[in-house]
């Protein structure tokens, strides 16, 4: 009986086009996993000697790998966090202006300019940070320390060059701004007219309509956009390496000449003269950056999923 049933099971006809397409997507999907696995394996294997390295192998006075990597990891997260704090509100504001406030012609032009910003190489941003931004901000930093020095974040002594972690964060913010803005703009434009009209018909002003319909609807998109921006900020190398003269410590003060550096910048600065275990140590810090990025993305995913039923996707 069962054999008859099995034989009679109707199978959908297989079309060549379907098969080619599904194979292509499977290959593409597997490829990204394979590349990621290869990078992770390379980092892991190369990092192993770093975990057992002796104090003599480390640049500076770190006793072991964790003591070495901790200030770098801190600097990476700290600068990226500051950059996002500056960039996200600005990006949402620009995106809302383009999607809901600006006249259509101006909005298009502005959109192109923002996208153009994404194409500027990071070396240029680094040079801009050193040459323009740092000198420009230095007097401002001086008065900030003078007036608000009692807040630990703005504690002195102020850096004479303006090349501080705050300057770096501003440079990073400018660098991540285009990607966050571009995605937010697209998300905001996708808000169904249905919901915008619903709030307007209730007597909402333009801003209330945005707060009621556009922003909640775009919430997961804003988070995803911020994560892409964060990815760039965490991994940014040249701009940080050029602007900061690093001192490997955990320092929260934003305006002094003592600044923590980031993992990526540290690798870029030290790789040319590293040898033996030194290379392994640098690669191990790269592995830490890899893990941090992964963890941050997973947290973002959890945040998006937590209110999935209210996302508007159903």
């Amino acid at each position: 009986m069962t054999t008859i049933v099995a034989r009679d099971t109707i199978r959908a006809p297989q079309r060549a086009g379907d098969r080619i397409f599904s194979t292509a997507t499977v290959v593409a999907g597997s490829l990204i996993l394979a590349v990621l696995a290869a990078v992770a394996a390379f980092l892991l294997v190369q990092s192993l000697p770093a975990f057992v390295a002796t104090p003599a192998d480390f640049k500076g006075d770190a006793a072991n790998f964790w003591a070495y990597v901790w200030p770098l990891a801190f600097g990476t997260l700290w600068s990226a966090l500051l950059a996002l704090l500056i960039a996200i509100p600005l990006a949402i504001g620009i995106a809302l202006f383009i999607s809901h406030y600006a006249p259509r012609k101006l909005a298009q032009g502005l959109g192109y300019i923002i996208d153009l910003l994404a194409a500027v190489p990071s070396v240029v941003f680094g040079l801009w940070g050193i040459g323009v931004l740092a000198p420009l901000l230095q007097p401002f930093y001086t008065s900030l320390v003078e007036w608000f020095g009692w807040i630990p974040l703005f504690a002195g002594p102020v850096s004479g060059t303006g090349r501080t972690i705050l300057t770096v964060s501003i440079v990073l913010a400018v660098m991540v701004l285009p990607i966050i803005t571009a995605i937010c703009r697209e998300i905001f434009l996708q808000t169904p007219v249905l919901y915008e009209e619903a709030s307007l018909a209730l007597g909402a002003t333009r801003w209330e309509m945005i707060a009621m319909a556009v922003l909640p609807f775009g919430r997961s998109g804003i988070i995803s956009a911020s994560m892409l921006g964060l990815g760039r900020a965490l991994g940014e190398t040249m701009a940080v390496a050029m602007v900061l003269s690093p001192s490997p410590q955990v320092i929260f003060a934003l305006l002094t000449s003592q600044n923590p550096t980031t993992i990526a910048a540290n690798i870029a600065l030290n790789f040319p003269e590293a040898h033996g275990t030194g290379v392994n140590i640098l690669l191990a810090t790269g592995l830490v950056l890899f893990v941090i990025t992964l963890a941050v993305n997973m947290v973002a995913r959890v945040i998006i999923n937590r209110r999935k039923a209210f996302s508007g996707a159903n």
Partner: protein, 259 residues
């Protein structure tokens, strides 16, 4: 709460295009007025001018006046935002905010005016509005679930609850049942009948049985041809429109001999 609407020689334009021409009518308080007519004849456009929702479309503007209890909606210095708090609207497709719970959906409009609302007041208003929309018994146990978890008919009644929660004078309905099944449609029609006691209701519908079932007065809109403006052809008691219309075009339309 309900108020008289008086429309005097209203023209609606989309940029240079005249979409609706020369509409004049009076809608009495506590009545249901149905607007019928073929697609594209300007009924929805006209409906939207009663709470200035047409202004959402870039380039749309009107000439003429709409008086609600004597106050011109298009007078100088009148804020469209305040007009819309007075004249609520229910749309063709149910549109409860998917990002809000059922309870928050009901309060959405109220919270615009009154941000700090005591929890008990808010709960009372939710219950009152949902009861007013005949939805309370179906959703009272899941007020914290998303609005999008309801069926289409329930969502539409939630939208009605949301509209009446702000206690408007007039409620406009733009084909509120066209996306619903017959049972849900019946539920909405019963609701309209009950709401008539408190509100002035104007409803656009493609369903002539619906117009004859729910309305007291009916307006028939028509266009002479593509690119021509829509006009109010005949406006009279619903029984007159459906049994003994005075204009041939109306009779052709309601008897199905149109076009």
């Amino acid at each position: 709460m309900s108020k008289r609407i008086e429309v005097n020689d209203l023209n609606v334009y989309y940029s240079k295009f005249l979409a609706v021409e020369g509409v004049s009518l009076t809608i009495e308080p506590r009545t249901v007025t149905a607007l019928i007519g073929p697609s594209g004849c300007g009924k929805s456009t006209f409906l939207r001018t009663l709470n200035r929702m047409h202004e959402v479309i870039p380039g749309a503007y009107v000439k003429g006046e709409v008086l609600i209890d004597g106050n011109n909606l298009y007078g100088p210095g009148v804020d469209p935002v305040l007009v819309r708090r007075q004249v609520g609207m229910v749309f063709q497709r149910p549109n409860p905010f998917p990002t809000m719970s059922i309870g928050d959906n009901v309060l959405a409009g109220v919270k615009l005016n009154n941000r700090r609302m005591a929890k008990s007041d808010a709960d009372d208003l939710i219950e009152k509005s949902l009861r007013g929309a005949n939805l309370w018994n179906e959703v009272k146990d899941r007020l914290d679930k998303p609005g999008s978890s309801l069926s289409g008919g329930q969502q539409q009644r939630l939208c009605i609850a949301r509209a009446i929660a702000v206690q408007p004078d007039v409620i406009l309905m733009d084909e509120p049942c066209s996306a619903l099944d017959p049972i849900s449609t019946l539920a909405i029609e019963d609701l309209i009948e009950e709401m008539k006691a408190d509100y002035t209701i104007v409803i656009v519908t493609h369903n002539m049985q619906q117009a004859s079932r729910v309305s007291d007065r009916t307006g028939f809109f028509n266009i002479a041809g593509t690119g021509k403006p829509g006009r109010l052809i005949e406006y009279s008691d619903t029984t007159t429109i459906f049994s003994n219309p005075s204009i041939q075009a109306t009779e052709d339309y309601v008897s199905g001999r149109f076009g």
